[in-house]
Amino acid sequence: MSAVTTHHDDHAHDDTHAHELPYGQQLRANRLGLWLFLFSEVFLFVGLFAARFYLWRDASGVVRPELDQVAGLIATSVLLISSYFMVRAEVAVQHGEQKKMHNSLIMTFVMGSLFLLSVIFIEWGVLDLILDNMFGVTLFAHEAIKPGDGAFGAVFYGMTGMHALHVISGLVLILIILANGHKGAFTEERHWGVEACAVYWHYVDVVWIFFYPALYLIGTAVTYHT
C-alpha cells in the first residue's frame, strides 16, 4: 500500500511547477502565516486581558493594585525604544547598510534585555528582595506584588509572565538574526529573517501597549499589602 509513487520523472525541472515555491510566493506565504500566527496569539493575550477585567473588580467597579508608576513608565519606555531600534535595523537592511543593521539589532537586544530585567527585578520585586535582605534598603515606594496576593498576584504574574516569555523568545530570535546577519545571510532584496523577527518584536511591544494601561493605569488603585 503506497499512496505516493516514487518520484523519478523529470517534471522537477518544470519551472511553473517547482517543488520549492518561488521566492515571491514563499514570501507571501510566510507573511500571511506569520500574521495569522500573531492574530492567533491575540486571542491568548485577549484571554488574559479579559481575565484582568473579570477578576479585578469590587463593588465600586474596576480596581487595580497600587503599583510603582516609575517602574511601569521605565519598562514601557525601554520597550518602545527597543521597538524603534528594531524598525531602524529593518530600514537599514532594506538600504543595504549592514553595519547599521547590526548596531541597531544590538541596541534592540540591549533594550529588550533591559525591559526583561526591569520586569524581573523591579516589577516582580526581586531587586527589592535582594536589597532588603542584604542591606535592609527599600528602593521603590511600593512593595512588589506577590504571586499569592489573590487575583492581583495571579493576573499580574500571569500577564507579565506570559509577556516576558514572548520577550525572551523575541530576544532569542534577535540573537539568531544577529549571528546569521554577521555571516551575511541578509541582502537588500532578501531579508525575510529580519522582517519576521522585527514584526514579531513589534508585536510583543503592541501587547505591552495594551498591558501597560491594563496593569498600571485603569481602575481605582487599591493597596494590596497582606
Partner: protein, 711 residues
C-alpha cells in the same frame, strides 16, 4: 551540530535505540511475568502442597527474568547493527529503531527521567511527585519527543545558518513504507499518518466507552470502581476529541492541497510538526490515566476540582494544551495554503465545497484554541506556581480573589466553537459526496460555502449557553439563548441544500453514499435536540442529564464519525488504488445506523427520566435499567461494526482487485489526477475552466491540464 546529526544516522545510534526499546519492552514483559508469578505461581504451588526451601522459587524467577531481559536487550541491540536481518524479529528491531515514533517516545521517556532525577537531586529524600515536577516533566517531555523524533532538525539547522532542502521520498537507505513512520513532509503521507493514528486513538476511546457502558447496564458497581469509572469517562471524552481532531487533520491534509490544485501545503515542515506534536500530547493524555488516581474531572477539567485533584489532571491539561499546538499550526497552514497556493483559475467560489468547510474550521481552530490554552495554563499555574486565578479564598481587605467561573468562560469560548471544527469538515464531506452520487449540481453552492463561514462566526457568540445553571449573571441568559438559536440558520441552509441536491437526482447507493445519508439522519437528530438545550427553561431541567449525552453523540456521529467513515470508503480507492469490499461496507452501515439510532434516542430517553450524566451508579427506582441495557447492546453493535470496517479496509488494501482510476466518476481534481497520486499531485499543472459540480451538464469541464510549453 553536524557531528550530532551524523551520529544519529549511524548504525551505533540505531543499535542504542533498538537496545533501549528492547529494554522497555523487556521491562514490561518482566513486570507482567512478575505479577503472574506472585498472584498465581507461588500460591498455586502452595495450594498443591509443593514445599520449596526458602526463597528458591523467587531466586529462580528472577534468574529467568534477568536472562529474558538480557536476551531481549542484546538481541535488539545487535539487530540495530543489521544482524539477524534474515529473521522477522531482527528486522522488527532494526526497522523500529529507525522510526521517528520510537526515537520520539524514547526521547520523551528520557526527558521525563532527567527532569524527575533533577527534582530528586533538589528534593533529596523528600522526593515525591508534586504539581511542579509533574508539570515540568510533562512540558519538557514534549520537547524531548520533538527533538529526538527529528521534527525540529531542519529548523535548528536554520538557526545555525545552514540551508536545508525539503527531503522527498523515503529516508535514506530505508524502504518506501518507512515514510509512514518517519518525519515526512508530503501532505499525503501526513494525511495517512493522521488517519491511521486517528483510528487507533478512536479504538482506545471506544474501548473505554465499552467498559463503562457495560458497567452502566445495571445499577450498582459490577466491573470497575467508582474512581476507575471517573477516569474512564473523562479519558473517553478527551481521547475521542483527540481522535476527532486527528481525523479532521487527516481529511484536511490529504484533500485540501489536491483539491485546490497545489503541489503540497504552504509549510510542509510545519505540517509535519503539527502531526508529530499531537503524538506526545496523546501520550500525555493516556498516561494521565495511570498517574496518581487518574483524572476524574471529565474532559472539561473545571476548577475547583482540577486545581486540587489528582496529579493525573495536570498531565491531562498539558496533553490537551499541546494538542492545541497541533490545531493552531495546522489551521494556519491550511489557511495560507488556500490563500496563496490555488491553481490557475481556482477562484474562491470555484473551489470544491470541502475546502470551504476546511477554511471555516481552521478559522475557529487558530483563534479559539488560544483561549482554552489560557484556561489550561491558568489551572497549571495555580497548581504549580500558586497563582490563584480560580481560588476564591479571601486574602486581604480590598484585594479581589479568583473565581472558578472564569475558567468556564474561557473554556467554552473555545470548546463550543470547537465542536464546529469537528462537524464542519464532516458536513463538507456530505456536501462533497451528494452531487457525485446524485449526478446533479450541488444545490446553492454559494449559500453552502457561506453557511460554513456563518456557522464558524456565530459559533463564537454562543459559549455561555453551557453555563445557564452555572451561577453566571442572569442577564446573560436571554442574549446567549437567542444567539445560540441563530446557529440553526446556516445549519438549515446546509440541510435544504442537501435535500435540493438529492431532489430528482439519479441516486446510486454505494457504501459512501449510504454513510452520507446516515450522517444526515443522525445529524438531524442531533440538530433538532439542540434548540431544546439552548432554551433556558428546558435546559434548567435537562442540564447535566443523559439528554445532553444523547444530543452530543448525535451531533458528533452525524457531523463527524459517519462522514469520516464515508470519506474513508470514498477516498480509499484513491489512497490505496484498490476497491474495498462493498458487501462488508454495507454490512457495516446496516449495523451501525440502527445501532446508533437506538443508542442516541435511548440516551435521550433516560435523560428525560432523570438519569444524570457522569455517574457510575444509579437508583433502580429511576426505571431506566431496560433502556440502559439496550444502549449498551447498541454500543457493542457499533463497536463490532467499526471492527468490520477496519477488517474490510486492511484486507482490501492488501489484496483486493485494483480500482478503476475514477470509480465514482467525480469531477474533482483529486480524481482527475493519476492514482496513486504523484509525489507532487499533478504531473502537469492544472487550470480551472468551469464550475465544480456541473454533473449531468453536457460538455462542461471543471479542470484541465495546462499543456507544457514544449508539447
Amino acid at each position: 551540530m553536524k557531528a550530532i546529526l551524523t551520529f544519529t544516522r549511524s548504525r551505533f545510534a540505531r543499535a542504542l535505540v533498538a537496545g533501549a526499546l528492547g529494554l522497555i519492552v523487556a521491562a514490561i514483559l518482566v513486570a507482567i511475568l512478575n505479577s503472574a508469578h506472585t498472584t498465581w505461581v507461588t500460591p498455586g504451588l502452595e495450594a498443591l502442597g509443593v514445599q520449596l526451601p526458602g526463597q528458591l522459587l523467587d531466586l529462580a524467577f528472577w534468574a529467568v527474568a534477568i536472562l529474558i531481559l538480557l536476551a531481549i536487550v542484546v538481541t535488539a541491540f545487535l539487530s540495530g547493527f543489521g544482524m539477524f536481518h534474515s529473521r522477522r524479529m531482527g528486522r522488527f528491531w532494526y526497522y523500529a529503531a529507525g522510526t521517528a515514533l520510537v526515537w520520539g517516545v524514547l526521547g520523551q521517556a528520557l526527558t521525563v527521567a532527567i527532569v524527575l532525577f533533577i527534582s530528586y537531586l533538589t528534593m533529596g529524600s523528600d522526593f515525591r511527585l508534586t504539581d511542579g515536577n509533574v508539570a515540568l516533566a510533562a512540558i519538557f517531555s514534549v520537547i524531548g519527543f520533538l527533538l529526538f523524533s527529528g521534527v525540529l532538525t531542519d529548523w535548528i539547522q536554520w538557526i545555525f545558518g545552514h540551508k536545508t532542502e525539503l527531503h522527498h521520498g523515503a529516508p535514506e537507505g530505508e524502504p518506501e513504507w518507512m515514510r509512514y513512520f518517519s518525519v515526512d513532509v508530503n501532505h499525503k503521507v501526513i494525511g495517512i499518518q493522521y488517519a491511521v493514528t486517528s483510528v487507533l486513538v478512536l479504538l482506545v476511546g471506544g474501548t473505554l466507552a465499552i467498559v463503562f457502558r457495560l458497567e452502566l447496564s445495571a445499577p450498582g458497581m459490577q466491573l470497575i470502581t467508582e474512581n476507575t469509572y471517573n477516569t474512564f469517562f473523562s479519558a473517553h471524552g478527551i481521547i475521542m476529541i483527540a481522535s476527532i481532531l486527528l481525523g479532521v487533520g487527516a481529511m484536511v491534509n490529504y484533500l485540501v492541497p489536491v483539491m485546490i490544485g497545489a503541489s503540497d501545503m504552504a509549510f510542509p515542515r510545519l505540517n509535519a510538526f503539527s502531526f508529530w506534536v499531537s503524538i506526545p500530547a496523546a501520550l500525555l493524555i493516556v498516561s494521565a490515566m495511570f498517574v496518581d488516581t487518574g483524572f476524574d474531572t471529565g474532559w472539561v477539567g473545571y476548577p475547583p476540582l482540577s486545581t486540587v485533584g489528582s496529579l493525573g489532571i495536570i498531565l491531562f491539561l498539558l496533553g490537551f494544551y499541546f494538542n492545541g499546538f497541533a490545531s493552531i499550526a495546522s489551521a494556519i497552514n491550511v489557511l495560507v495554503t488556500v490563500g496563496v497556493m490555488r491553481a490557475k483559475g481556482m477562484a474562491l467560489f470555484r473551489m470544491p465545497i470541502f475546502v470551504w468547510t476546511a477554511i471555516s474550521a481552521s478559522i475557529i481552530q487558530f483563534t479559539a484554541t488560544q483561549t482554552v490554552g489560557v484556561a489550561l495554563t491558568m489551572v497549571v499555574a495555580q497548581r504549580a506556581l500558586g497563582l490563584g486565578f480560580f481560588d476564591p479564598t479571601p486574602v486581604a481587605a480590598g484585594v479581589p480573589v479568583g473565581q472558578p467561573l472564569l475558567y468556564q468562560q474561557l473554556f467554552w469560548f473555545y470548546s463550543h466553537p470547537v465542536v464546529y471544527v469537528f462537524v464542519l469538515p464532516g458536513l463538507g464531506v456530505i456536501s462533497e459526496l451528494l452531487p457525485v452520487f446524485s449526478r446533479k449540481p450541488l444545490f446553492g453552492y454559494k449559500w453552502v460555502a457561506l453557511s460554513s463561514l456563518g456557522i464558524a462566526l456565530v459559533g463564537f457568540l454562543v459559549w455561555a449557553h453551557h453555563m445557564f445553571v452555572s451561577g453566571m449573571d442572569d442577564s446573560l441568559r436571554i442574549p446567549f439563548m437567542i444567539s445560540t438559536m441563530f446557529v440553526g440558520i446556516p445549519t438549515g441552509v446546509k440541510f435544504f441544500s442537501w435535500l435540493g441536491t438529492l431532489w430528482g437526482g439519479k441516486i446510486i447507493y454505494p457504501t459512501p453514499m449510504l454513510f452520507v445519508l446516515g450522517a444526515i439522519s443522525v445529524f438531524l437528530i442531533g440538530g433538532l435536540t439542540g434548540p431544546i438545550l439552548a432554551t433556558v427553561p428546558t435546559d434548567m431541567h435537562l442540564h447535566d442529564s443523559y439528554w445532553v449525552v444523547g444530543h452530543f453523540h448525535a451531533t458528533m456521529f452525524g457531523g463527524f464519525i459517519f462522514p469520516f467513515f464515508a470519506a474513508l470508503y470514498y477516498w480509499f480507492p484513491k489512497i490505496t488504488g484498490r476497491m474495498y469490499n462493498e458487501r462488508l461496507g454495507k454490512l457495516h452501515f446496516w449495523l451501525m445506523v440502527p445501532g446508533f439510532w437506538v443508542m442516541s434516542l435511548g440516551q435521550m430517553r433516560i435523560g428525560l427520566m432523570g438519569m444524570r450524566r457522569r455517574i457510575a451508579n444509579y437508583d433502580p427506582a429511576l426505571g431506566v435499567e431496560g433502556t440502559q441495557i439496550l444502549i449498551t447492546i447498541a454500543a457493542l453493535v457499533i463497536a463490532w461494526s467499526v471492527l468490520i470496517m477496519l477488517y474490510n479496509l486492511v484486507s482490501s488494501a492488501r489484496s483486493a482487485e485494483l480500482a478503476p482510476e475514477n470509480p465514482w466518476e467525480s469531477r474533482s481534481p483529486e480524481w482527475v489526477a493519476p492514482t496513486p497520486l504523484p509525489e507532487f499531485n499533478f504531473d502537469r499543472p492544472i487550470e480551472v475552466v468551469g464550475d465544480p459540480y456541473d454533473y449531468g451538464l453536457a460538455d462542461s469541464k471543471y479542470i484541465q491540464t495546462i499543456p507544457a510549453a514544449g508539447d
